[in-house]
């Protein structure tokens, strides 16, 4: 085993931090490390938290950390914020709410930017989860802003997916895409100190009830809870629901490790293959300038995109399968 892997498993913070950087930056050398780490993963429980900007996700995560630490559980946090499409830079501000845990050795907090990679966010976040898992964290909490498909996919691969809303979102609740409602294992109405929490609750209940078809034969009905994260109200109850969901999952997988769930494995492997193919083929083409040339030809009206695609993909596949 490489010394990097050994240090990760031993919980060395600097090595873990550096490795996540390499994953994020798409360094090919991380693959070998991740292979070595894989057998040491599968022990952490992964919670995904998503919701509109400013609903209180980081504040909630901060309180969750405190509760889990009281139970002597170690916690890893991945807080994902959007990359600016204009500059490629990002301001990652979720840590502000979690400051008080920075000196706690049982807590590792990492901010990540969505970057540009299409579909790659899910993959790099999953790899980062694996690293924190191998490092020995009992719980891993992933926070994303529930706007883009990528961000939603990230939390979808958690064991328990939590959708956070706030009162008074009114029509916004209706606007929550059906896709988002579907992935919620638990709904949390935060800022319940504000007016309209009960209305939001009944609106949400109506919508999830209508969505029940999906849960037919399912023993899990997504609970809708109220909380006031800043005041630590309702957070303990929320964690109890997460625990119930964990037990439910353990039941249906008959005690198997969650990640060996066939459906999950299918999805992960497919994503990984897709990404690897894109990496190998598309990035090569970008480097040689072939992609840009094809774009120019289409823009200048010399070529149709279907032919351009054939011209690029077919030879690339031929060389890659040699």
């Amino acid at each position: 085993m490489s010394s990097v892997s050994e240090k990760v498993i031993a919980g060395d913070v600097r090595t873990v931090a550096r490795l996540i950087r390499d994953i994020d930056d798409g360094m090919p050398n991380v693959r070998e490390v991740l292979k070595e780490l894989y057998p040491a993963t599968g022990n952490a429980y992964v919670i995904g938290i998503t919701g509109a900007p400013g609903v209180g996700k980081s504040t909630l995560v901060d309180q969750m950390i405190s509760h889990l630490r009281e139970d002597n559980k170690t916690v890893g946090v991945l807080a994902v914020d959007p990359t600016s499409p204009f500059s490629g830079g990002a301001i990652l501000g979720d840590r502000i709410r979690m400051q008080r845990h920075s000196m706690d050795e049982g807590v590792f907090i990492r901010s990540m930017a969505t970057r540009g990679h299409f579909g790659g966010l899910t993959l790099s976040t999953r790899s980062a989860i694996d690293v924190l898992d191998a490092m020995g964290k009992d719980y891993i909490i992933v926070e994303t802003v529930g706007v883009g498909q990528d961000e939603v996919d990230v939390v979808k691969s958690a064991h328990t997916t939590v959708i956070v809303v706030i009162p008074g979102m009114g029509d916004d609740i209706q606007a929550i895409k059906a896709g988002i409602l579907e992935i919620g294992d638990i709904f949390l109405i935060n800022k319940a100190d504000r007016e309209g929490a009960d209305k939001t609750l009944s609106d949400l209940r109506l919508m999830t009830d209508m969505d029940q078809k999906k849960h037919e034969g399912d023993k899990w009905t997504p609970p809708i809870l109220k909380a006031q994260a800043v005041f630590d109200t309702g957070v303990a109850e929320f964690l109890e629901e997460i625990e119930k969901h964990r037990k439910y999952l353990l039941d249906i997988t008959e005690g198997l490790q969650f990640r060996k769930d066939k459906h999950r494995v299918q999805e992960e492997l497919r994503d990984m293959m897709k990404n690897r193919l894109i990496e190998e083929v598309l990035d090569g083409l970008t480097e040689t300038g072939e992609f840009e040339k094809a774009v120019d030809s289409i823009v200048e009206g010399k070529l149709d995109p279907y032919t351009a695609c054939d011209n690029i993909v077919l030879p690339a596949l031929a060389t890659n399968t040699r």
């Binding site: 931090a17 500059s87 830079g89 502000i96 400051q99 920075s102 000196m103 990492r110 901010s111």
Partner: protein
């Protein structure tokens, strides 16, 4: 897309004064320059800043101070990084810092000091020239 190193910067505001306008402005300028900026908020101790910077694997820490405690806070941050074997992380400072303090701070390992007279463009330029993403 692959092999794309990005500069990561921690913007931190140690000390007790309650203003972080300057820190926010600089954070935005860094973002607009294409850096990933971890902003960790007000009232951080050097210990907290260093721990967070290691977890975040940043290339540089930008400290901002208005209250005059920079002569302790800035060198202490450098010292802690050294203790943790993380002194490859560059430390810079900004804020209201008297000219006579600057050579002393540099002596103690603060790589550069930006005073209120330094333009954002020049700060960004300095970072691009002096901080290489690992």
């Amino acid at each position: 897309m692959v092999n794309k190193r990005r500069i990561r910067v921690m913007v931190a505001k140690p000390g007790l004064d309650g203003h972080d306008r300057g820190a926010r402005i600089i954070a935005r300028a860094y973002r607009d320059a294409g850096f990933e900026v971890v902003y960790s908020g007000l009232h951080q101790t050097p210990e907290e800043i260093v721990e967070a910077s290691i977890q975040e694997d940043v290339d540089m820490i930008g400290l901002s101070s208005l209250a005059g405690a920079h002569n302790y806070l800035f060198p202490r941050t450098v010292e802690l990084l050294r203790e943790k074997g993380a002194d490859d992380i560059i430390v810079c400072g900004g804020g209201i810092i008297p000219d006579e303090d600057i050579p002393v701070l540099k002596e103690k390992g603060i790589k550069e000091i930006f005073t209120p007279g330094t333009t954002l463009d020049n700060i960004v330029k300095w970072v691009k020239e002096n901080v290489k993403p690992r």
